[in-house]
Amino acid sequence: MVAGWFTVDTDQEDFRLLGTRCSACASVFFPRQDAFCRNPACQGGEPAEVPLSKRGRVWSYTDSRYRPPAPYMSDPAVAWVPYTLVAVELAAEGIVVLGQAAPGLTTADLVVGMEVEVVPGVLHEDAETAWTTWHWQPVPAAPAEVRS
């Protein structure tokens, strides 16, 4: 959707959101902040691209029962299917990042505090283009350890 916000051409395992980190104060910015550091106590270091944590915890969530207006892309000829929005706390970066939940997830599937991970997704597609994005989805429960 917007250049440089997440890794491209990676598989689901390696998919990451991309932010920037200030070399002077270590503040992390998402969306990326390539021109300056917004920490008022910082003299300003070089911003460097940094992949964000893959996993975080749900800060809150909601959904969109009505079609949002443009510039959101959706086909008005197709019946509206609500999507879920999730705000996720990333502990290492000290930030909360909003995103859509993976398709099919509803608010009934979410709880504040549960662990989720970022995965690649498609925001909208037409005949020529698929606009890619990031989605949050609950971390699958670890498979029961098999003891032999």
Partner: protein, 396 residues
């Protein structure tokens, strides 16, 4: 106090969907405020307009548009844009001019003709605008953010959707008594619960509508007020227009992410709390001095958060206040005696001015059936997109 300016006049155009131009609304409100002040338009030395987008004109206009409609008379002019805080900045600009001696009397006007449905950013490809980005990348409407705050309150404090509904019931009851309100019908908890979900857990009646409307104030020096026979006018004692402090650690409209807390610990006070805090400090009063408050109830759940942010109760205790009836008309500290945005809807440049109109009428004791008995101190609280604080304290 030397910092006081007088509110000599207040006026509104009734809010609703009237299908006319914002210039008409603003002119009606301005004339009402001038008549209330008992002065002629030609006496006004400065006109300050809270901006709106004029259809067909790629930009924001206000001050000169109202001055032209009222008849060019050479007054100093200012136009300010600060999203929902535009009205507070207009009040503050007029106040600064009066306190500095640039003008004795100023007219402040805000008016809008709002679009139907969700607010949306202006058109075009504008990926450098965070407001455009949140719609483009996430489809995150304003109600989506209100839903996030509401769900967070439920998880943290145990608020229920019934608590949220009670805020609407309370504000609708007050709005039913206000001739300037768009919605003047009582609402029951059942009505709220039966309305459609917009952004889980919030329903249509939890979220304010968009409206047309206008509000205006005549502000003047204490000396000018005395000369015009107002010996004991309502006075504006503080106007807060603070910005947040880094790191802003609570997700807020229109941002996709919060500031990082890695380098600097976040302030223990939220941005919204700091808005009211600055006004209290400037006015030399505290929450315990308030007779009433007008807060920005974009959603029912958000009103509960404001109770905490303006210091009426501790963090997480907002729902208890509405359950007890403390914030209803007749309660210990009425909030949104006007009916709030729940009854008015949003007319962005006008609403922070309309809040001050309500304080003016309440502090004069002329608010009719919705009068808060013996009101002496009132606070408004509001927040504009992109980090614009807005709070006014008026006293009598």
């Amino acid at each position: 106090m030397t910092g006081d300016v007088a509110v000599l006049g207040a006026g509104m155009h009734p809010w609703g969907k009237w299908g006319r131009s914002f210039v008409e609304y603003g002119t009606v409100a301005a004339r009402a405020a001038l008549a209330d002040a008992g002065i002629g338009w030609q006496e006004v030395q400065s006109v300050v307009g809270a901006d709106t987008v004029r259809g067909g004109y790629p930009g924001y206009v206000a001050g000169a548009t109202f001055a032209q409609a009222l008849g060019w008379q050479g007054a100093r002019v200012t136009s300010v844009y600060a999203a929902c805080a535009s009205g507070a900045q207009a009040v503050n600009t007029a106040r600064a001019q009066i306190l500095s001696g640039m003008a004795d009397v100023a007219l402040v006007v805000g008016a809008d003709a709002a679009p139907k449905g969700f607010f949306a950013p202006v058109g075009g490809d504008r990926p450098d605008d965070p407001d455009w980005l949140r719609f483009r990348v996430l489809g995150a409407t304003n109600p989506a953010y209100f839903g996030l705050y509401a769900r967070r309150r439920m998880a943290l404090y145990g608020d229920t959707v019934e608590d949220f509904g009670q805020v609407k019931v309370k504000n609708a009851a007050a709005g039913a008594l206000n001739p300037n309100a768009r919605y003047r019908r009582a609402v029951t908890a059942e009505d709220v619960a039966a309305s459609a979900v917009v952004a889980d857990p919030l329903r249509l009646l939890d979220i304010c509508a968009t409206s047309d409307g206008a509000a205006a104030l005549v502000l003047c020096s204490m000396e000018f007020a005395r000369r015009h026979g107002a010996a004991n006018p309502v006075r504006i004692r503080a106007v807060s227009t603070v910005t947040p402090t880094f790191p802003k650690a609570v997700l807020d409209l229109p941002d996709i992410a919060t500031d990082s807390t890695v380098a600097v610990a976040p302030s223990p006070d939220s941005f919204r709390a700091s808005i009211a805090g600055a006004a209290y400090e400037e006015a030399g009063v505290g929450p315990g001095d308030l007779s009433l408050a007008e807060v920005y109830d974009l959603s029912t759940a958000l009103e509960l958060e404001w109770y905490e942010d303006i210091g009426l109760c501790g963090t997480g205790e907002g729902a208890k206040l509405v359950q007890e009836g403390a914030t209803a008309l007749g309660g210990r500290i009425p909030v949104n005696a006007s009916g709030g945005l729940a009854s008015f809807g949003e007319a962005v440049p006008a609403q922070a001015i309309a809040q001050v109109c309500e304080l003016t009428w309440q502090l004069r004791g002329t608010a009719g059936e919705r009068q808060v008995p013996g009101a002496r101190v009132g606070l408004t609280a509001n927040q504009g997109l992109f980090g614009h604080g807005s709070s006014v304290i008026a006293v009598r």
